[in-house]
Amino acid sequence: MELDVRQTVDWMVKANEKVQEQKDYLSQLDRAIGDGDHGINMARGFQEIANTLPNEEFEEVSDVLKKTATIVMSKVGGASGPLYGTAFLKMSMESKGSNVDGETFEKMVGAAVEGLKQRGKAKEGEKTMIDVWSPVLDVLKEVSEINGEKIREAAHTAMEATKDMVATKGRAAYLKERSKDHLDPGSVSSYYLFEALAETLEKG
């Protein structure tokens, strides 16, 4: 099964719906270990994405992701703006000229994870969105197709696992041990993104 242009647009529109629904929850999570703006940041950026993508023509998935990256970079702000911007941009570059089958999608998420690590100077276990993206990559390596349900499951488990981690990157790192017992906001928004993907794939 492949991810096509229409589905990619649907994916982003659905991601926006989740972000808007959970806007206050995301900000609340960020208030506990950050500056409390993650919901506002994500809602601002994804609203613009949902307003823009359905009204444009795209040749291929790569182009949808490139447009998404550009909007995210300009509109999200904070740390998550450049991070999500980098992730979408790397996925766009990796898929340029290809149909997005399971193998390509694995490479795309692989490039996104590399990009996130480089941009954030971070690795797994530091209580950042990388702790969701990286386990999703692992599951993609195990399966040959884009298996929405497995992705959703892996992302969910990974998101919950950030609760026990101590932040060593980003604003939450200032809190050290006190960052424990809280979910990482960027990991939760990343979960919504992958949940939206799973639902898009289910719908077909």
Binding site: M73, S74, G77, G78, A79, G81, P82, L83, G85, T86, R119, G120, K169, G170, R171
Partner: protein
């Protein structure tokens, strides 16, 4: 050839304006390109402002300073996306580093020479 520019990426427009005045008054002869605060002028960083600041860099190149983590990410992303060659990020402190870099630039030092001076003063700064 013109002097090396100073690029400032900060969460606050007041901070970038303050550094700009400091450099203009106490050093002079050096262009400062600044991206401070979010779109609305509040606390934050704006990638569009950052890109604009980089687009105004002159032919001698620039040394770039940032304050908090996400300013660094925005600056790095802009340098990569605009494929700027002679523009380098420094992790030296934004006020103290930019002031030293401006003094060095004002006497005609190159980007690499300025980065060396910053490294002597503040430790490893070039990423």
């Amino acid at each position: 050839m013109a002097n090396v520019d100073i690029v400032l990426v900060s969460h606050s427009e007041k901070i970038t304006e303050g550094i700009r005045f400091l450099i203009e008054e106490m050093v002079g002869g050096v262009s400062v390109q600044a991206a401070g605060g979010n779109e609305a002028g509040g606390i934050g960083t704006s990638f569009d402002k950052v890109q604009n600041a980089f687009k105004n860099v002159g032919e001698a190149g620039a040394v770039v300073f940032y304050d908090l983590g996400s300013s660094q990410m925005n600056a790095e992303m802009a340098i990569e996306m605009l494929e700027l060659e002679n523009v380098h990020l420094s992790s030296a402190p934004i006020v103290e580093g930019a002031y030293l870099a401006a003094v060095e630039s004002s006497v005609g030092k190159s980007v690499n020479e300025i980065l060396e001076e910053l490294e002597i003063e503040f430790g490893k700064v070039n990423s």
